[in-house]
Amino acid sequence: MRPELIDDVSQSALDPAGVGATQIVDLFHWMVGGGVVIWLIVVGLSVYSIVVPGGHRPRLTKTLVIGGGAVVPTVVLSSLLCYALAMLPELHRPPPSDSPTVKVNGVRWWWRVQYQTDDGRTIETANEIRLPVDEAVEFKLTSEDVIHSFWIPSLGGKVDMIPGRETRLKLYPTRVGKFRGVCAEYCGTAHAQMRFDVTVMPRPEFNRWLSNQSSDAREPSQQSAIRGGELFRRKGCGACHTIRGTDARGRVGPDLTHLASRSSLGAATKPNNTENLRHWITHTHHVKPGVTMPAFQALDEREVDAIVAYLEQLH
């Protein structure tokens, strides 16, 4: 069975949608171009030395060896260094103080995401980051266990997340769209499934999304969803998951307050739909080997239906 992965969004550093990524692509093109020129010269010279018989003038040889072997590389590397260093001050400059700040913690193998609202409240979500377009955003990054690395290839460079330390990253998205974020530092079994969804959207839409995220979970109204909420409590899901507005306050796993508004499950391992959600709950380790969440295989069909109905109305 071919795993149903979500690969419809850009995860390419060569498809830039942010200021940082554009600079990286420029740098990459210069280096590829330069590399090709140097390669052509070196290979050309070797072919020349094989094809053209006879010795060469010692003085010329010496000049070529010292010039081509020491002087040219020094000059090329120095100019590359200057070119790259000239980008640093802008990348390091803190964003304007009124720009949004997003705190992201790496946890094996998912992402705890926290937004700060204007009235000073902290809103938690997981595995999904939304950003307003054409605004600088500051990320404050850390890890709750091992070293992870936070990377949205289409938007900019990557920065390590280190336990006990806060690292920073400034991004400036320039294009509306969906992008893929990944963990770029091997961190254990499910490292390859530690990804996240990034949506860059116009400011008004972003505000609407953020205000929806900041509300508590909606009360279930349908019969099965009410039963699902009951089961969620009874089966102990709340020991690991938070659903704001209920007594589920666990912090081991992702916040599920607005799970239904997210597009994927298991840190962007599967699309968020009914079938995958059922499968996640009953065959967790089949979907994502190694995670702390136990598979709830003992639940019967109707119990799973009810829990899924409850989770699916958490918009």
Binding site: A70, T74, S78, L81, C82, L85, A86, L88, P89, H92, R93, P94
Partner: protein, 128 residues
């Protein structure tokens, strides 16, 4: 005559080889220590570090002058005596020439390394 013989028998200063890299190392430490201490203790809230840039530039000028002097003396020793003497004989003369040559090459390397160190601090220029 006797003077030149006595100089020929002088033991070649082996430490001359490491003197240029040592200047680079001291320059490196001085630059980063200055930046670290300045940013931790003295920087304004906007994090500008113009003073560090100035300090690093002056360290760099001093370091490059020292390295140039070391390199020049190595080069002179390398060119001392007959040109045909090889570098890998066992004689005093060849030894001196070899050490001179190594000193000279390492001085070139140290000069580039010192410049690279300075470039980073001069370009970045802030405490962020």
């Amino acid at each position: 005559m006797s003077k030149s013989i006595s100089r020929d028998n002088r033991v070649s200063p082996l430490w001359a080889i490491v003197s240029a890299p040592a200047v680079w190392a001291v320059h490196f430490l001085a630059s980063y220590l200055t930046a670290a201490i300045f940013c931790a203790k003295l920087a304004d809230s906007d994090g500008s570090a113009g003073e560090v840039q100035l300090a690093v530039m002056s360290y760099t000028v001093i370091a490059l002058l020292l390295i140039a002097a070391i390199g020049a003396s190595g080069f002179r020793r390398h060119h001392h005596g007959r040109h045909s003497t090889s570098h890998d004989d066992s004689g005093r003369d060849a030894q001196r020439r070899m050490i001179g040559f190594a000193t000279f090459l390492l001085a070139c390397l140290s000069a580039v390394a010192t410049l690279f160190t300075a470039l980073v601090l001069v370009f970045v220029g802030t405490c962020h």
